[in-house]
Symmetry: C2
Subunit: 172 residues, 2 copies
């Protein structure tokens, strides 16, 4: 199948390591890194608490705990569509120790606002409500994720088809 977006003009953007400073405008990084461990369970466990601001109660919403499997997109990865959720946050955490990719922006019609990150298999993210993001993105092999987002009344999905696409480099 030929993906139609491959024929649109596209601009390559760099892929940076996921870090709190650069991801802060878009949400939380869910990770042990930089978090304070509490020793519990008679010293048989460590706990890193309160790693994400889950925001799902608008308009009568409630939490939706899901499992997702994402299938790899072949190179070059071209971003032709962005989405956001006006009624709730959305958290993804990888269930295998494999890197994955994140593409966000503040304005889907402004290429300069796009950021791409590579996350480790120990890093999840929680997009704040209304953060524009590309859907779950893996390369090389399928990836399972635990997802925490919102279910409930109201329209909680907006999509934007890009006028100019974003392309990720073949390696980073």
């Amino acid at each position: 199948m030929i993906m139609p977006e491959r024929h649109l003009p596209s601009v390559m953007i760099p892929v940076a390591p996921l870090s709190s400073a650069s991801f802060a405008p878009f949400g939380d990084i869910v990770s042990e890194d930089g978090a304070l461990a509490t020793v519990i369970n008679q010293n048989f466990a460590e706990r890193y608490s309160d790693l994400a601001d889950v925001d799902v109660q608008a308009n009568g919403g409630k939490i939706n705990v899901s499992l997702m499997t994402a299938y790899p997109r072949s190179a070059p990865i071209v971003i032709a569509l962005m989405e956001r959720h006006p009624l709730g946050s959305q958290l993804f955490f990888p269930l295998q120790d494999q890197p994955w990719l994140i593409v966000v922006c503040t304005d889907p019609y402004d290429i300069s606002s796009f950021r791409a990150f590579h996350a480790t298999g120990h890093q999840g993210v929680n997009y704040t409500r209304n953060t524009w993001h590309f859907p779950l993105l893996v390369h090389d092999s399928p990836g399972r994720f635990l997802t925490i987002d919102r279910q409930g009344p109201g329209i909680n999905l907006e999509e934007a088809w890009l006028e100019r696409c974003v392309r990720l480099p073949p390696s980073w």
Copy 2:
């Protein structure tokens, strides 16, 4: 270090595979098994939605997303203490494809009410509020888990030290 509970009388109970029918009195199994997949993200992902009844709002509570690392207990695994959370549910999902163990009961002073399960690395559990359970339990090697439970005002932990301990068999 000699664990004092090793000297208490103990009763061995069987360890059964985790299954919905047998775990139902204690909570949800969080798993793709038996759940309906929805194809999303332009056919690049499958989603299994609404896998757990997260119940954390009592008494002004809110969700707490945590990461935990559990360290293995050496054989024989002896259960001398059970705990429960009167104000909220508690969900654990494994972050590596390794089996783990679950011990629950309806009455910590009634050995016949105890059940032990071995879960796969693709199965999480969500204990309903007030379900008596042993803390996170791994064998062989440390295990990382994503946890969804409650934070907020009030006392959300009850512990019961057993009069007669429960012991798990060396293999199952």
